[in-house]
């Protein structure tokens, strides 16, 4: 698979939620299109209730688009059988509840489930993959520890390791930086970029963190109230007027020496990278 071919093709995909069958839709995601290749990191950006989660689910294949299509290597994601889909798409959700106590390596081992038969017990190879995944996220030192006893950052890394253990083509992350401090946030995104390049993944990150997205994404999909406003490299998408319209706040866009945009509140206050959802960025 050459890195130039389009892997993920979202073409005019739309969706609508309604309370009942014949009732008016409560929320609509309008036709959205973008494409992603291997080794690319795409950020789906927007404030709350912009349709990001819906788009994520359409990509993950758990929702079927009302119109348009979502294809991964030519296959409709919503039509794939659960097992096959799990071998190609790995999803990291916002919350990972753990009901019964579990060690980190057991958690990561769950990522091998899509490859097992019904009465399957994991093989040496599966274990090698688990070790490798933990190493790639820098969490090998917590392998034997219980999941409810490790720090938030370490837990997040283990969750990503599980996604890696699935050996997917596509890695989807829903607000992975929500509960992390600045350092951990940057570290996570850096690692994701690195993994994308090294393992030829396509990574799609749903986030509302403007500056993180700007710093690490190859492409940005900007959503606002169910509409896709713009798709493109950060430099193109981060237009002041556009961002101000979406975030409803006075903003200023500057450019780093590498050409990456940086957003701050107009009036000179630099808004840090580790901001909470209550603030605008």
């Amino acid at each position: 698979m050459s890195s130039n071919t389009v892997r993920l093709n979202v073409e005019q995909a739309s969706y609508a939620y309604s309370a009942g069958e014949r009732q008016a839709p409560l929320f609509t995601l309008e036709a959205t299109s973008f494409q992603a290749r291997s080794r690319e990191l795409v950020a789906v950006l927007g404030p709350n209730a912009s349709g990001k989660s819906t788009l994520l689910r359409l990509i993950a294949g758990t929702l079927k688009p009302l119109s348009g299509r979502v294809e991964l290597d030519g296959f409709h994601t919503s039509q794939l059988e659960a097992r096959t889909r799990a071998q190609r798409i790995a999803v990291v959700q916002q919350e990972s509840p753990i009901l019964f106590p579990l060690r980190a390596w057991e958690y990561v081992l769950q990522g091998r489930h899509p490859y097992g038969r019904t009465f399957h017990f994991e093989s040496e190879e599966d274990f090698a993959i688990v070790e490798n995944a933990l190493e790639q996220v820098g969490a090998k030192h917590v392998a034997e520890r219980w999941m409810d006893k490790i720090s938030g950052g370490e837990k997040q890394r283990v969750v990503v390791a599980r996604a890696l253990a699935q050996q997917p083509l596509l890695l989807l992350l829903d607000e992975p930086t929500l509960h992390l401090d600045i350092g951990a946030q940057v570290e996570l995104l850096e690692r994701l970029r690195h993994l994308a390049v090294r393992n030829h993944h396509t990574v799609v990150v749903v986030t509302h963190e403007l500056n993180l997205a700007a710093a690490f994404a190859d492409q940005v999909v900007l959503l606002h109230k169910g509409k896709c406003l713009k798709v493109g490299p950060p430099a193109e998408v981060y237009r002041r007027e556009l961002l101000e319209q979406v975030y409803e706040a006075p903003l200023e866009v500057e450019y780093s020496p590498e050409g990456r945009p940086r957003v701050s509140i107009r009036g000179g206050k630099e808004i840090g990278l580790g901001s909470t959802p209550a603030q605008v960025v």
């Binding site: 993950a60 758990t62 659960a82 097992r83 096959t84 889909r85 799990a86 071998q87 798409i89 790995a90 999803v91 959700q93 990972s96 509840p97 753990i98 009901l99 019964f100 106590p101 579990l102 390596w105 958690y107 081992l109 769950q110 990522g111 489930h113 899509p114 097992g116 019904t118 009465f119 399957h120 017990f121 994991e122 274990f127 688990v130 392998a143 034997e144 699935q166």
Partner: protein
Amino acid sequence: MRRMTFRRVLWVCTLQAVVLLAVVVVALKLGAVPISVTDLVYSLGRVAIGHDSQLPSQFQVIVFGLRLPRIILAIFVGAALSVAGAGYQALLRNPLADPYVLGVSGGAALGAICSLIFAPEIPLVTPAAAFVGATLTITAVYFLGRRQGQLDGSTLLLGGVIVASFLQAVIMFLMTTLAGRELRGTSFWLMGDLSTPSPEEIGWVFAVGLAVSIGAIYSTSADLNLMLGGENEAIHLGVNVKRVKLVVYVAASVLTGLAVSVSGAIGYVGLLVPHALRWLVGSDYRILIPASALGGAIVVVVADTLARTIAAPTEFPVGAMTAMAGAPVFIYLLRRRMR
């Protein structure tokens, strides 16, 4: 990293099987009528080879016609209840779930009571009617427990609890208003009782139902491990959550229905045996299911043997034994969780 392998499962199960065998031999020896161990082992050996056991005829009837069938039934009931409990705990994602929480035992009780009132003279009718009652309840609760086309844990729990209390009310009503002459012994049955010998056919039907249901649940055990971490997570890891929930629901409910139809509602086994085994062998359902089955079998055989020997010739219902032992254990477990 210690992985779950087939070998480990086999070792644990073999160990439990050995314990079970020892318990069975002791249970065969004990009873209102004393039988020596040597006689017993000798005759068991002969029977296993296919010869006549050489015991005097009334001892033969006691050992092979009374105790052994009763022990076998206790094994089945213990295995059924424990696996059903483990299954419901995964399905409802609630460690406090027991096999009766969804109303299956109420339905079986109602079926049994109706059969005692309306058709008292035909043998085998009572357990059959109990099972029919259980099946109808399973179906009704299934429809109540659905949300957006598939079973939903909390909706199921709510529906089940409501159905259970409704059935209880109907049972109370019937017991107070109807004749009463056919309802003697109902209190024993409601507590859980293995003291009346059952016809052989019941044993066979139970064995088949047990094997099929446990097999079905076991086939989803890897999926269940994942579902414990959340349904969405499981879906994303390739589990067909809708199908797994249906299979586990039906299989666990059938197991409960079988157990209750035969022995009434023996309590605490389905709740505590999976817990105890989780503590001993871990939460992986690939080992928890067979271990629970064997563990439950051991517990019910022990409880039943105690029930019939502690104050011989008076017999307690086996449910009384499990409740007396189970309640303190349950309290202990709750307190550990709260710490």
